[in-house]
Subunit: 474 residues, 2 copies
């Protein structure tokens, strides 16, 4: 009963009333967002609180993200305790960081104490060193120890992600013992879906889903109801690997173990879902040089990230231009070459990007391994050949007819085929090679591939034009 | 006990032995894959089966994906019943489809009968109409009805994704009644994490996590232990929305309801995790015109998808080239323009792609809504201004110095700024507009944006060169 009451206060009636504030895609309606801010600005605190009070914590977090930087402190002031630990845990990190800056260390400490370790760590890990210390000092020794322990693991590892709240029982107890213990332990506030069975050294020997406990007779030994095979997560495992493992084995929760194999924490699937989303979405942002691509990050940070990528690309664009410079004389004689050359380089870039996107995703999802790389390179080669020939015939025929110059048509057709082959091979070889050297292929591949397709596009087209004697005739 | 025994047969010892066959990223080691194929080809069936027998079903599925098309029928023959329903459910759809083609309808029917509805539907939905009918005819009437019901919902909706196996109890029972029922019902084969409480019309009125049932006294009414607020999934909801909802509200499972609000099924998070991964990864593939980007799809399908995208881009590239053609005379007089123009168009393309990637992700994750679109357009405008000015100064100064032509420097600097502004604005306006008209912004945005940056890059640079009198002097 206690459990239920807690939850009813904690979570607003989601389905029945709040739904009217959400559009068909579960996003807060613009009119609602505007109304709340209008009420807040008009000083109608109670009315604003009443409207927001119906929302789920995740939607209150969204509300903060959707209003402007300037309105957030006012909204926080008006909502007061509705800006609960749960709401902060759901909030975008940049938005949260700026809100947390407004709070005293004691307030942050109180918020962190109410959260599971993993959520508390997420809030505290991004703070400045001295503020972090102030918050930790203001916490109860036990909570502080848990957070300090988590912070001792590198960022983005299982140690940061796990919660220290889990249920572990020794092998010799019965199902009845377990049920009795669960009923007695009132501190078990957090959600859990399976329990872990440990040996005297606290090493996991098995796991038991709650449904199996519910369905087994009380007298059965837990060691007979449990499953011995389980996926253990090393505490220093990278979060991306953790996410892939959860996905591959369809896990709901998993035990985290230290180097000695002792159970130190638990990771649940709801924490991993965010990571899967982030990691899968990251590739597109990295490939395009948009950094984290977070629309809530401070604009100066966004500009710095994007500009550095653009400057690198400016360098490679100048390199490609210097190839064109080599043929300046030929272009002066036959300016039509300058008109057509961007088609060859651009199409190579498009084809290269296709292969690159497919390869980067296949690497990220563990589908491309040493076992099938050679086969996939050959596959891309075949695709590039067919597409290069098709595009070459198209553009070659078109060029011959439009400009009445079959030789020009043959030159652009050949250049198109060559550049498609370069694009296809570079599109798979570059990321595979980078991955082999443990460089994230999503970050650096695009520069190499588009530089190659630009240079080879210009070089093959202009080079063939000169070799074929086109410019002599022009 | 029955439950446990089932599982021990079903799942191979994952942690202890199989781990030696996996590398540090949980991928099957190439040497292992080769060994299995070598054994199979040498006719050493028992040895091959013994090695594969230690793997988790998900890893056996991976094994099939990693070997070549030609080796898969042999492997299937050697493994026999190890190619279990669970293995097929985990397998890439294209690989599975070709394996299923080798089986008789009765065999497929038997496999489908052993799976949860959602997994069975995934296997059957991709078959040809007549084969599908043959399989359905071969199934037990009850299983067939469940599958036919699922197939009656559109693809990629909750109705296809849900399983019909769930636990629902009436409101008036006690926690003790629920536990007794769960113990008695031996048919409950599937994993479940919460139960649903329904009214006499079978409409969900609440949900109860198993941990709450375990911890509540037996005499408590289930309606006092349950949480009334729950997220209901309409049966026709798109799977992408289902995934976002699971993620937003950190759900483990959710009830699916029909139009009348009656409980018709359950979706669990492990089914949703795949969708989150797919949908997040899809954007990068669509933006680059690589279709589904599945490395296992038949190569003819891949070529068709990629080539049609390339042909569209060939059209836009010719459009951009025609802008250059307009300035052919200027280029003939001053060929250096042809050398420098790809820098302006290329950099615009890079900046546009950055904004595009960020916008497409923000739309897909529901972070960009009508509430903050205007603010985000202004944000992109500021970023484009700063980056355009920076790049303009860089390239302008460089050009002036290298070619000793300050006017040329000023022209390229201005063109660079203009094209960056075009790129930034197009990068956000195009996807936002497409989304407003319910067109997937990931599919079509890139063509518009790069066409715009190409055309505006050429036009602004060459146009300014002519206007400034550069070509008259050259």
């Amino acid at each position: 009963m206690v459990i239920t009451d807690d939850r009813e206060i904690d979570r607003a009636p989601l389905q029945r009333e709040a739904e009217t504030e959400l559009d068909e895609d579960d996003r807060l309606k613009p009119a609602f967002v505007r109304d709340v801010i209008d009420l807040a600005e008009a000083g109608e605190v109670e009315a604003a609180r009443e409207r927001v009070g119906r929302l789920h914590p995740a939607d209150i977090a969204d509300l903060f993200e959707l209003v402007s930087d300037e309105d957030r402190p006012l909204l926080a002031h008006v909502l007061g305790d509705m800006l609960s630990p749960d709401v902060l845990a759901e909030m975008n990190e940049h938005v949260r960081e700026r809100l947390i800056d407004l709070l005293a260390p004691e307030q942050v400490a109180e918020i962190a104490s109410e959260l599971d370790t993993d959520d508390a760590v997420a809030i505290i890990e991004d703070m400045e060193e001295d503020e972090q210390q102030a918050v930790l000092q203001a916490m109860e020794p036990e909570d502080r120890a848990a957070i300090e322990d988590a912070l001792s693991y590198p960022e983005e590892t299982a140690g940061r992600l796990m919660q220290r709240e889990y249920v572990a029982v020794p092998e010799h107890v019965t199902v009845g013992d377990v049920i009795d213990r669960l009923r007695e332990d009132i501190d078990l506030a957090t959600d859990f879906w399976e329990i872990f069975i440990v040996d005297p050294m606290h090493r996991p020997v098995g796991t038991c889903q709650l449904s199996w406990i519910l369905r087994a007779p009380r007298s059965v030994a837990i060691s007979d109801a449990m499953k011995r095979e389980q996926t253990l997560i090393p505490v220093d495992m990278d979060q991306e690997e953790v996410a892939l493992r959860f996905q591959k084995y369809a896990l709901i929760s998993a035990a985290v173990v230290d180097k000695a194999g002792r159970l130190v924490g638990m990771i649940t699937v709801d924490d991993v879902v965010h990571i899967i989303q982030e990691e899968a979405g990251e590739d597109i942002l990295r490939l395009s040089g948009a950094g984290d691509g977070d629309i809530n990050e401070p604009i100066a940070m966004t500009i710095r990230t994007r500009l550095s990528w653009l400057v690198v690309n400016l360098g490679t664009a100048m390199l490609a231009a210097s190839v064109v410079g080599f043929f300046e004389g030929a272009i002066a004689k036959f300016a039509l070459l300058a008109v057509l050359m961007p088609i060859v380089s651009g199409m190579g870039g498009n084809a290269g990007t296709q292969t690159l996107a497919v390869t980067v995703r296949a690497i990220a999802t563990n589908q491309l391994t040493a076992s099938n790389t050679l086969r996939m390179i050959f596959r891309e080669f075949r695709i590039a050949t067919v597409n290069g020939l098709s595009l070459g015939v198209l553009i070659g025929t078109g060029t011959s007819l439009i400009f009445g110059n079959p030789l020009l048509g043959a030159v652009i057709a050949s250049a198109m085929l060559i550049n498609n082959l370069v694009a296809g091979l570079a599109g798979i070889l570059v990321p595979v090679t980078l991955d082999r050297f443990d460089v994230d292929p999503a970050v650096s591949s695009a520069v190499f591939v588009t530089t190659l397709t630009d240079i080879m596009g210009f070089f093959s087209f202009l080079g063939l034009a000169v070799l074929s004697g086109l410019t002599a005739m022009g």
